[in-house]
């Protein structure tokens, strides 16, 4: 933060001049929200960190460091030198710090606005500072996008798409016989994904930016950072769902194959600084999103948060530990935003609450498919945690071995099936809808460097994209945006295997040159040296890669990923792993605890996460778009810009 600037107002300047020397350690503003380069670096120039759609609500907040033993007794926010009407709540947050907040502010005048705070200490001294934000207006003209569909392949960089195309597209003689559904979308852009506090984002700010148009710190959903440990009191930014529900009467749908409390789905409806606060996040879906954002479809895993604590499998917790995650909101926040204060209730039956509100509840695919076409509210919770991975769900449907948690949850829907039901329910609203569909395990399996599983999850995701494109064709007032929240694992296709699968299997069981299954770094006298068997003369590069061929069956997935001369994937954001290039029989086994018989160890470059997981990267990600207003999504842009171009289509219209 920059040093406290000169006081902004003449009257205050005179007051400051009268302050005795003992008050040189004057109170100071240490944080000002919305965040800005003007406040942090005294830089008034673009890019403007915080931007809002006209009339989009957000909180004004400041943290003020008082003199030792002193108290901040009041404050006033100004925008363009005009006092902002409303109550400024002053909350002591420890260490002689105080948080000043004015909730649910909105500005309808497009352009860059300077704002400031003046805080008064109990001895009369004052602190002030300034920042800025931009309000983005929308040009009227053309036809409006009635429906907005975000499809987010979590962690899906450009190579994830390429790999899925190689598996499904029959690439030979330099061309793909058939592309992905994503490939058929007419507009392509490139997104920068940095978060407010890192070049490398996590899924929370990486997804929330599409819903709010703003950056936040890693782990945060729909809020700006503050200086309290409270997960629920951060300055908020209104989500697209509630903004368009309030202004246009749209409804909201959220579909994922992760736990519904996971970062990406929650980033479209929830406001918290803790992406892991499952109990409160799911409570907030009901307490706020159903009423404020017209949430009508919620599907995925995460049933644990909806079950009273006494039911086996429940994950609901109270707030008696640091991990506790139910909530009560500050009174000023609840009043200004018009939402319930929440409740500490680990025994809440959230499924019952949704059913009472008119939702049809589906615990499995069979029930989901049986929901009558007339229903417009669906709650689908197909797993207690994350849903199983496409490969393992498909294996169960084919009658192959059930692995992972498939034996416990054998009847999970595929993402395209969930998409069909969501589109049918949401499209009943004549004012249109916002729908977010996430392919979550592309990221999760990329983290685990489980190539075959993230490839098939990308295929599953692409099939959901195909369903949305079909809907778009019959509903041309629909905007479809397909992108990611970030790249995961530094993935790329480095070549193709030079040997048959049978040969690969044989080599995967042989030790390296010394015939001993070694350990890393020779700590016990033997090293891993399987590279002589599994790298040299196996990894074909350039023309030796050839064109790996996969056999796609009627269910849309390959009969096997272990074909002769298969595609070879490398990981630049890798953790430690043993590699034998073969499909791992079990999901979610650590990379350094599987495939060891081949004795080929690849040391990770990414620290953290036990050194056994790959990490997100800061790489730009691709965006594909189609339908009403999609022509605007070209060029290289910041990820927050997607929100504003979508709002142009929904509010201003597109030619």
């Amino acid at each position: 933060m920059k040093p406290t600037t000169a006081l902004l107002f003449p009257a205050l300047a005179g007051l400051a001049a009268s302050v005795p020397s003992a008050a040189l350690a004057a109170p100071s503003v240490t944080r000002l929200n919305p965040p800005s380069a003007l406040f942090t670096f005294n830089d008034p120039n673009p890019p403007f960190i915080a931007r809002f759609a006209t009339g989009q609500k957000f909180d004004l907040q400041a943290t003020v460091q008082a003199d030792a033993g002193k108290v901040i007794t009041g404050g006033q926010f100004y925008v363009d030198n005009n006092a902002v009407a409303g109550t400024v709540t002053v909350t002591p947050i420890g260490g002689d710090k105080f948080s000043l907040a004015l909730r649910a502010y909105a500005n309808t005048k497009p352009g860059v606005h300077t704002f400031s705070v003046v805080a008064t200490q109990d001895d009369g001294t004052q602190a002030s500072d300034e920042g800025n934000f931009e309000v983005v207006g929308f040009k009227p003209g053309g036809k409006k996008a009635k429906n907005i569909i975000y499809l987010i392949g979590d962690g899906m960089g450009i190579a994830h798409r390429t790999a899925a195309r190689i598996v499904t597209g029959n690439v030979k003689q330099g061309k793909a016989e058939s592309g992905l559904a994503i490939d058929s979308l007419p507009t392509t852009g490139i997104l920068m994904t940095h978060s407010l506090n890192s070049i490398v984002t996590d899924s929370a700010p990486g997804a929330a930016c599409y819903s709010t148009g703003n950056k936040s710190n890693n782990n945060q959903e729909g809020v700006f950072p503050d200086d309290t440990a409270d997960k629920w009191d951060n300055p908020r930014v209104e989500h697209m769902g509630s903004y368009l529900a309030r202004t246009q009467g749209k409804v909201l749908g959220i579909v994922t194959n992760a736990d519904v409390e996971d970062a990406t789905p929650a980033s479209f409806a929830v406001h918290t600084q803790d992406r892991g606060a499952g109990t409160g996040i799911c409570d907030m879906y009901f307490d706020e999103a159903v009423t404020k954002a017209n949430l009508r479809v919620l599907m995925g895993g995460g049933r644990r948060w909806f079950l009273p604590k006494l039911i086996p499998g429940s994950g609901r917790v109270n707030s008696t530990t640091a991990g506790g995650a139910d909530y009560t909101l500050p009174a000023d926040l609840a009043a200004a935003w018009g939402v319930p204060v929440g409740a500490v209730d680990e025994n809440r039956d959230l499924i019952a609450d949704f059913v009472k509100a008119g939702f049809s509840y589906a615990p499995d695919a069979t029930t989901l498919m049986s929901i009558p076409a007339a229903e417009d509210r669906i709650l689908g919770l197909f797993h207690t945690g994350n849903m199983d991975i496409a490969m393992d769900k498909i294996a169960e449907r084919r009658g192959d071995a059930a692995v992972g948690s498939v034996p416990t949850f054998p009847d999970q829907p595929m993402l395209d099936e969930m998409t069909d039901k969501a589109l049918a329910a949401l499209s009943k609203n004549r004012n249109g809808f916002v729908l977010m569909i996430e392919g979550a395990s592309i990221d999760k399996q990329a983290h685990n460097m489980d190539t075959e599983r993230w490839v098939l999850d990308t295929v599953e995701f692409d099939r959901a994209v195909g369903r949305c494109i079909e809907f778009m064709k019959s509903n041309p007032d629909t905007l479809v945006i397909v992108t990611a929240d970030h790249e995961c694992a530094g993935i790329n296709i480095i070549g193709g295997s030079r040997i048959t699968n049978a040969d690969l299997v044989a080599r995967s069981q042989e030790k390296g040159a010394d015939g001993v299954e070694g350990v890393v770094n020779g700590a016990a006298g033997t090293s891993t040296d399987g590279q002589t068997r599994l790298r040299n003369n196996v990894v074909g590069i350039y023309e030796a890669a050839g064109f790996p061929q996969y056999d796609i069956t009627t269910d849309g997935y390959p009969t096997t990923m272990d074909v002769d001369y298969k595609m070879i994937i490398g990981y630049a954001g890798n953790g430690d792993r043993y590699e034998d290039w073969l499909t791992n029989p079990l999901p979610n086994v650590a990379g350094n605890a599987r495939d060891k018989a081949g004795d080929y160890f690849i040391a990770g470059q990414a620290a953290g996460g036990g050194n056994s997981t790959a990490v997100h990267t800061a790489s730009d990600i691709p965006l594909s778009a189609g339908g009403r207003g999609s022509a605007a999504f070209t060029g290289v842009m910041d990820n927050t810009e997607v929100f504003f171009r979508a709002m142009q289509a929904a509010i201003g219209g597109a030619k």
């Binding site: 947050i93 420890g94 260490g95 710090k97 490398v200 710190n217 782990n219 945060q220 200086d227 440990a229 992760a258 736990d259 409390e261 996971d262 803790d274 892991g276 606060a277 499952g278 049933r303 644990r304 604590k309 006494l310 039911i311 086996p312 499998g313 429940s314 994950g315 917790v317 109270n318 530990t321 640091a322 991990g323 029930t367 207690t384 945690g385 994350n386 992972g404 034996p407 416990t408 949850f409 054998p410 999760k444 070694g518 350990v519 890393v520 770094n521 700590a523 016990a524 430690d576 979610n588 650590a590 990379g591 605890a593 599987r594 060891k596 953290g608 996460g609 036990g610 050194n611 056994s612």
Partner: protein, 261 residues
């Protein structure tokens, strides 16, 4: 919930060497020095580790936490656990704890598991590679697994049947993570309990002993957790995501539900 009295006569896991040293030379200090510190000092006296400068050059694998390190540094010799001891515990398959498939709402304990609630049982599985906020606890799963709280928080793939293994008497001590399967003997406890990391456990084993299934030897209490780089590397790194440590409402222990990625 039923809970049987713990069978003291079968608690073979107590680190006998450690206790022996403590009982003779260090016992007078017990009331003044934290037990874990004493235990660490005593343990190191009889089992110098590669991290002890007096033990010679430090193993690269030990310091780096690289894969395979735990196989490269054999645990101190421990007596094999006899079949007679095992016989005192009913075998329960982890796959048999909950009814499959799950019903439309929650899960349901099997008749077999319910009958063993509070009884002495044996579970076989793999230690999940992660660090629990509660140093008494590690997770036992039906298959090898890595759990990255730092990546996902509680939106994870951990099956409901994963057991919280509680080493109640020795906070701060636990077996090192190993890729090999383990056999854990103890008292089974079913039912919800909120754990320190925000997770709700439904299957707990109050462990009497942890056995390396490969060697049949006792596998517990080989290191204080503070000297386990393999486990610690999987831990959440404490990171401020907006919390003010000076705030009176700030937690006094690390929260792993503020993931750093």
């Amino acid at each position: 919930m039923r809970r049987a009295a713990r069978p003291v006569e079968t608690r073979l896991v107590r680190p006998t060497a450690t206790i022996r040293v403590m009982s003779t030379s260090l016992a007078p200090l017990i009331s003044f020095v934290p037990l874990a510190v004493l235990a660490a000092v005593a343990w190191k006296a009889v089992h110098p580790t590669p991290l002890d400068p007096s033990a010679g050059p430090v193993s690269v694998a030990e310091v780096s936490g690289a894969a395979g390190e735990d196989e490269s540094v054999p645990p101190p010799a421990a007596p094999a656990v006899s079949d007679d001891v095992r016989a005192g515990y009913a075998e329960l398959q982890m796959d048999s704890i909950f009814v499959k498939p799950a019903g439309p709402r929650g899960l349901e304990y099997t008749v077999e598991a319910s009958a063993l609630d509070g009884a002495r049982v044996r579970l076989r599985g793999w230690m999940v590679r992660h660090l629990h906020d509660d140093p008494r606890i590690f997770l036992l799963n039906t298959q090898p697994m890595v759990l990255h709280m730092s990546e996902y928080g509680l939106a994870d793939d951990l099956p409901p049947s994963a057991a919280h293994v509680i080493l109640e008497d020795r906070p701060g001590w636990a077996p090192v993570w190993t890729p090999r399967p383990l056999e854990v003997c103890g008292v089974l406890e079913l039912g919800p309990r909120q754990e320190r990391d925000g997770r709700v456990s439904h299957v707990r084993l109050l462990a009497d002993q942890v056995i390396d299934s490969g060697s049949g030897a006792r596998a517990d209490i080989v290191k204080p957790i503070g000297l386990q780089p393999a486990r610690l590397k999987a831990a959440v790194l404490s990171k401020d995501v907006g919390a003010d440590p000076a705030s009176p409402s700030a937690p006094t222990f690390p929260s792993s539900t503020n993931p750093t990625k």
